[in-house]
């Protein structure tokens, strides 16, 4: 029938964000050679426009929620929440990249196209309701980010970073794929609700529980890598340190949020019936991530490396919420990821701004006296750092509060206490940055900071406004997260 050859309009609408992103990415690739030697500013704006348009498209698609393409993609609150998060991460990344790329002499259209492709992949991941789609989204997102990590071809560190990320990343993806194979073998399906049904009511004679456990373990390895949770976190410090700063910001935000979305969706929907089996695994991983991340960050001298370890610790906090295995836990993880995208991209944007050409200044000590030479940058950075510490009235605090509320709600008392003590440890290394910035006399590095302008200024202002808004009036986002969390069951 001709009607079935072409999907109905509403199904197209449900993947409109991805269509916009992919087409715009391709358009930028086509426009890139045509512009020749002329400035590429408008390509950045095109990417920005595409991301904003995709945000509107997500909202529009959410007006008519439902499945598309025979259940491969689902547009529900959960998908929409995470679509907006990864698109927001994309917007902030593009904004914070423009000056960086100009400065490094690498302002080409490919960069923006790759960001768009990566975001498109993440958008597919978060709205997929089927393991193969999840895998495809993961690959689209990952391959683009591998290239982004090594985008500065002449930079050795960036090359090292890209190769490491690629090798370990593809290894981890293979685990996911293998896990999918086991699931399919055990249940005969790759659709999440069907998988849950099969696990909940196993057929006689099939050792479903054992098969499911192996599958869950394999997929946990893959997702654990993508979210940089311990013990699969080894790659993160090297990659984050070597990659261009705006890319590090992006890596720690978008792909991480998307990977957590998939993690939540697969484990709380598909693997829900064997929840008691994977819970101890995630429990240990959460504790290890928090502890390793925080304690390793204590001794770092390089700001990017410190933020990398801190991002491991923050992955640990989100894993605490996953361990809770409840709607509140899912909502808490969602809220925290939204908060984390804002505060972490903000913090990395300060590094981008401060480090200057060739990223010369990325040691914590270099920031000495920034509070005196550039009070606005320092004040905004202070907001991000306080939020990462978890001081009230910032998004980071409310997120952490809600995570541990969820954890206590699920009787994870020990994990909560250890997690909160961890966050007190974490305060030390963020404070050290504040100390250097505000309590030292300006050094050579802080004296010559260029004025904060353009895209970076916009990034910092947007991210800090968001951080404070989520911290003081979390209701709107929290309500949406809570509503959406029910969709992940």
């Amino acid at each position: 029938m001709p009607a079935s050859l072409f999907p109905p309009a509403v199904e197209i609408l449900r993947v409109l964000p991805e269509i916009i992103l992919t087409l715009s990415g391709t358009l930028i690739m086509v426009l890139e050679p045509l512009t020749g030697e002329r400035p590429k500013t408008f390509l950045g704006f095109t990417a920005l426009a595409a991301l904003v348009a995709a945000m509107f498209a997500s909202a529009l698609a959410f007006a008519q929620p439902g499945e598309a393409f025979s259940g491969m993609v689902v547009v529900d609150g959960f998908a929409t929440f995470f679509r907006l998060v990864v698109l927001g991460a994309g917007v902030l990344t593009v904004l914070s990249s423009y000056q960086f790329l100009t400065r490094e002499g690498a302002n080409t259209g490919e960069y923006y196209a790759l960001v768009l492709f990566s975001v498109a992949g993440q958008s597919v991941m978060v709205s997929a309701h089927e393991l193969i789609m999840i895998f495809i989204g993961l690959e689209i997102s990952s391959i683009a980010t591998y290239v982004l990590a090594g985008f500065l071809r002449d930079d050795q560190r960036a090359n090292e970073s890209a190769v490491k990320y690629f090798l370990l990343g593809s290894f981890a993806t293979a685990f996911v794929l293998y896990g999918i194979a086991w699931v399919y073998g055990a249940t005969g399906s790759t659709e999440l609700t069907a998988i849950r049904a099969a696990f909940a009511a196993p057929q006689a004679g099939v050792p479903v529980a054992a098969l499911a456990s192996v599958a869950a373990a394999l997929m946990f390895v893959g997702f654990g890598f993508k979210v940089s949770g311990a013990p699969f976190q080894i790659w993160a410090p090297d990659v984050y340190q070597g990659a261009p700063s705006p890319v590090s910001a992006f890596l720690s935000a978008g792909p991480k949020a998307a990977a957590f979305a998939v993690f939540l969706r697969v484990f709380t929907t598909g693997f829900a019936p064997i929840g008691h089996r994977w819970e101890p695994l995630v429990w240990i991983s959460a504790l290890l991530s928090m502890t390793i991340g925080n304690f390793a960050a204590l001794t770092q001298t390089n700001l990017k490396r410190m933020l990398a370890y801190s991002s491991i610790a923050h992955a640990g906090y989100v894993l605490v919420a996953v361990t809770a295995r409840s709607d509140v836990g899912t909502a808490a993880a969602m809220f925290y990821l939204a908060a984390y995208v804002l505060m972490n991209i903000g913090a990395f944007a300060v590094v981008t701004h401060f480090s200057r050409r060739g990223e010369r200044y990325q040691n914590i000590e270099d920031l000495a006296g920034l509070g005196a030479t550039q009070p606005l940058t320092a004040a905004l950075f202070a907001i991000f750092l306080l939020s990462l510490i978890g001081v009230p009235l910032t998004a980071g605090f409310f997120g952490k509060f809600y995570i541990f509320k969820a954890a206590l709600g699920s009787d994870l008392v020990v994990l909560t206490v250890l997690g909160l003590l961890n966050s007190a440890v974490g305060a030390y290394y963020y404070l050290r940055v504040l100390v250097v910035m505000y309590m030292r006399e300006p050094g050579e590095a802080a004296a010559g900071v260029p004025p904060l302008a353009g895209g970076l200024r916009a990034t910092l202002v947007l991210a800090s406004a968001g951080t404070l808004a989520l911290g003081i009036f979390p209701t709107a986002v929290l309500d949406f997260a809570r509503y959406a969390a029910r969709m992940a069951r």
Binding site: A427, Y428, L431, L478, D479
Partner: protein, 508 residues
């Protein structure tokens, strides 16, 4: 409304100062001072609204802040909160005045942080929602961290970070306990939680109660600071600029004792009683240890800092005596310590501004060089010792009597602290103000100037007033304390009554 204005005016002042252009130091100082004085005037208006001899919150504002989890902007004021709020609104303008000349570096931020600190401290004392309380508790931490870290002395950074981390480690445990209470009762509203516990709708078993009590207690005991958790205090006090030391000693330490009295006792009466003997021992050790260590300090600020450990021991002793007298004395002693130790830090700051040294050995014969300064210092020292007719006497007496009602030996040991306080204060006074006047002291130490008089006069007046006419202060405090103590014992009866049906069932 009046309470809201008192609370939010400093916050508005903070924002206003941030938007003032850099370099206009004079405008910054005057703005800060005017805001702080206006806040003080507003807070004085609160006194009339708290009737003597009646418990319960006045000036209540209860608005939803975050609908779910149900967090409310619930503030109120009773007899205890009233005086602590007044203490912070009084000491903020005085802190601004003492920093007038001393702070010449990054002036705008300094006064902005002072006002933010006032906002946080006031908030802690008026919050009636546990989440809101925690928010203010942490918010007050940030400006103090910067005050110590940016404008302090040589080892300021170490002191600031230590201060932050100590407090943070304690308060995260409290946060866990607050969340736990929420999960059990479904509300952060302090009154509602108490109602739920009293009415037996939510019963905490013994282990729960003990764990929660210890979590709250950890946060408060670090802040007080109770021996042996006091090690952050000498560092922070010594390294802070004068205004920081004053606010820290006078107001911030009271957050801890206030928390013990307001939250620990009514929420966890049984655990409080079970732990009381241990806590009292720690308090008494702190009283004597603080005094002994103070005696041998070569540094004036450090000496005063250790006297705080000693004096705050009295407050904790009073609270955990579970007697009306003890609790009244504890609250009175919080205020006294705020006034007299605050004044000591102010005066030490004055000496430092002149001689640029905190070492006792660099001084001598100041009495000849600056007679009025010396006279004020003497009055303050005597007040701190606990001389009758001056403020500390009343508080210490009440605490000792309250403690004696429970166990006479407690009072005996605590009284040793009073004797020791006379030793260290008088010895300090003798070494700094009497004897030979070194050339440097003669050349540099001038007497009080009008701005400095404006700071010390209200403090000295209060020492005399609080020492002679307690009627102004105590009745309001007593009423609030009576309610707290009642609730601390009432819930015990309830639990006994709850146990009754089981026995009946057994009998059948």
């Amino acid at each position: 409304m009046l309470l809201n204005l008192t609370l939010w005016l400093p916050a508005a002042g903070f924002a206003a100062l941030l938007f003032l252009p850099r370099g206009k130091d004079s405008a910054v100082r005057w703005t800060g001072l005017i805001v702080a004085l206006a806040t003080l005037a507003l807070s004085l208006g609160l006194v009339g609204g708290i009737p003597s001899g009646e418990a319960g919150d006045r000036f209540v504002t209860d608005l939803p802040w975050i609908p779910s989890p149900a967090i409310r902007y619930h503030i109120g004021l009773d007899g205890i909160s009233l005086w602590l709020v007044l203490l912070s609104t009084l000491l903020t303008p005085l802190s601004i005045l003492i920093s007038w000349k001393y702070i010449q570096h990054r002036v705008k931020e300094f006064y902005a942080f002072l006002l933010l600190l006032e906002f946080g401290l006031t908030g802690v004392f008026v919050a009636r929602d546990l989440f809101l309380f925690y928010v203010f508790w942490e918010v007050s931490l940030v400006p103090m961290y910067f005050l110590v870290g940016i404008w302090g002395h040589e080892r300021r950074i170490y002191a600031a970070v230590k201060f932050f981390l100590y407090t943070m480690a304690g308060s995260v445990l409290m946060l866990a306990a607050i969340i736990y209470l929420y999960n059990r009762t479904g509300t952060f509203d302090y009154g509602e939680i108490l109602d739920a516990l009293w009415a037996g709708r939510v019963a905490l078993n013994r282990i729960e109660q003990m764990a929660l009590f210890l979590a709250f207690f950890a946060a408060f005991a670090i802040k007080v600071p109770l021996f042996p958790l006091h090690t952050w205090l000498p560092d922070a006090h010594v390294e802070a600029p004068s205004a920081g030391s004053v606010m820290l000693a006078s107001v911030m330490l009271k957050m801890g004792t206030y928390g013990l009295l307001r939250f620990c006792l009514p929420l966890f009466p049984q655990a409080s009683r079970e732990c009381a003997p241990w806590i009292v021992v720690l308090a008494i050790v702190g009283i004597i240890y603080g005094a002994l260590v103070a005696m041998v300090q070569p540094n004036m600020k450090k000496l005063v800092a250790y006297t705080s450990v000693s004096h705050l021991g009295f407050v904790v002793l009073g609270i955990f005596s579970f007697t009306q007298l003890g609790a009244d004395g504890a609250v009175y002693q919080m205020l006294n310590h705020g006034i007299s130790t605050g004044a000591l830090f102010v005066l030490v700051g004055f000496l430092y501004e002149r001689r640029h040294s905190l070492e006792i050995k660099d001084y001598g014969g100041v009495a000849t060089a600056a007679p009025f300064l010396s006279a004020v210092f003497l009055i303050t020292s005597l007040a701190s010792i606990g001389l009758p007719m001056l403020n500390n006497f009343v508080g210490e007496y009440l605490v000792l009597q309250g403690a004696a009602q429970v166990k006479f030996t407690w009072s005996v040991f605590a009284a040793i602290g009073v004797i020791l306080s006379a030793c260290y204060m008088l010895w300090l006074y003798q070494r700094v103000f009497y004897g030979e006047t070194p050339e440097e002291v003669r050349a540099r130490v001038r007497d009080l100037e009008p701005r400095e008089w404006a700071v010390v006069i209200p403090l000295v007046a209060l020492m005399v007033w609080m020492g002679t006419y307690t009627q102004t202060f105590l009745p309001k405090v007593s009423a609030a304390n009576r309610q707290i103590l009642q609730s601390a014992s009432y819930s015990r009866q309830i639990q006994v009554r709850n146990a009754a049906p089981a026995e009946v069932a057994d009998a059948r």
